[in-house]
């Protein structure tokens, strides 16, 4: 929708980071310990890093703070909050945006106790909208392990489709496993 009045501009800013059930907001210091704890959770690590290798507390906080600082135009990261009660649910971000390709990579991490309720799908939808409408991206892609079927379904619901199967690209539980590249193009996207 074209922004042709002051009110339209304000409405765009107000709605841009708000989904049906979650809203994206700037990272706060108080978010970091929980986000770090979730990313080190042995239930989460096989889905995010493949390698189960928890680090001491504080060891993973710098990358989260850097990603959420939002100082450069090539990357953006937000805390995910529940719209109903404001509770922290996770972190979502886009990285690697550059001219002339205008493509970025999406990543999301959720509270392992908040999965399975469509909150991640909603957060991905909002992040995608931000990427296309606010960053001018043409392509958003992501990598997901082929065994992470719950995440794949969520990404499909958000409009992503599988482009590449990187065969045996990761190693978990004593064997090689595939990794998918999924992508959503601007011209395929429906707001």
């Amino acid at each position: 929708m074209p922004i042709d009045t002051s009110e339209a501009a304000q409405a765009y800013g107000r709605d841009l980071l708000t989904g049906e059930r979650v809203r994206l907001r700037a990272l706060e210091d108080a978010d970091v310990p929980a986000l770090e704890r979730w990313s080190a959770d042995p239930r989460v690590q096989p889905l995010q890093q493949a390698v189960v290798l928890p680090r001491p507390e504080g060891g993973g906080s710098a990358p989260i703070r850097d990603w959420g600082a939002n100082t450069a135009s090539d990357s953006v990261g937000f805390a995910i909050a529940d719209r109903s009660d404001g509770a922290l649910l996770g972190f979502v971000g886009l990285r690697g945006a550059a001219l002339p390709v205008r493509a970025a990579r999406l990543a999301i991490g959720l509270d392992p106790d908040a999965t399975g309720r469509g909150l991640g799908t909603d957060a991905v939808r909002v992040m995608v909208r931000y990427g296309f409408l606010a960053m001018g991206l043409n392509r958003i892609d992501l990598e997901v392990f082929a065994y992470n079927t719950r995440a794949i379904r969520a990404y499909e619901r958000a409009g992503f489709r599988t482009e590449v199967v990187r065969r045996e690209a990761l190693y978990a539980d004593g064997g090689f496993a595939d990794e998918l590249v999924m992508a959503l193009l601007r011209r395929e996207w429906t707001p």
């Binding site: 002339p100 390709v101 493509a103 482009e163 199967v165 045996e168």
Partner: protein, 195 residues
């Protein structure tokens, strides 16, 4: 393929591992750098390899190629490609990003523009893949190629690479978005020694 069982077998392994049917891989030499740097800046090459046509002053990339070819550590390597028939420098290959526990790495090749079309590139890739599997113990070797680079895609297929998918509009060239093909060869599918 098994580990050498005698001194002679070990020596033969070392002698042959970097030698193909038409090329051999050898360490970078200082006097290679001017030509390698010129190929990398050539707008025709850039349309095949980098997408962005943006030549930089001569010598800008010599440190990059020195670093890629220093061959310290076990995560990667860079070699100059030499034609067996005349000993001329005909290209450069790079392998990077080899990690545990994935045992996966990326490779790339650049050929002298006047030596393409004679099978030197696919032979160099065969040798590099063999080196990756037999020397580094890798399980998977990956490369990316622009969809429009049909000559390179055929050469990679001859070297054993299989197309795994297409990253749509992942590049920008000539005023339009272009696709990028992901290709790989797995240890289990690898046909073995190049002839």
């Amino acid at each position: 393929m098994s580990a050498p069982r005698s001194t002679d077998e070990a020596v033969r392994y070392g002698e042959g591992i970097l030698v193909g049917a038409r090329v051999r891989l050898r360490p970078l030499r200082e006097d290679d750098l001017a030509r390698i740097d010129a190929w990398w800046q050539d707008p025709e090459q850039q349309a095949l390899q980098q997408g962005a046509i943006r030549p930089r002053p001569a010598g800008t990339n010599t440190d990059l190629f020195r670093r890629w070819s220093a061959n310290e550590g076990r995560a990667g390597a860079g070699f100059s490609v030499e034609a067996l028939e005349d000993g001329a420098l005909v290209g450069h290959v790079t392998l990077w990003g080899a990690t545990l526990p994935e045992r996966d790495a990326h490779v790339a090749i650049m050929l002298a523009p006047d030596r393409v079309g004679h099978g030197l590139g696919s032979d160099a890739m065969r040798v590099l893949v063999r080196w990756a599997f037999l020397v580094l113990g890798l399980n998977r070797v990956q490369l990316e190629v622009f969809a429009h680079n049909d000559r390179a895609r055929r050469a990679y297929a001859r070297a054993g690479f299989v197309e795994e998918g297409v990253r749509r509009e992942a590049a920008f060239i000539g005023g339009a978005f272009a696709d990028e093909v992901v290709m790989s060869v797995l240890r289990a599918d690898w046909a073995g020694d190049p002839g």
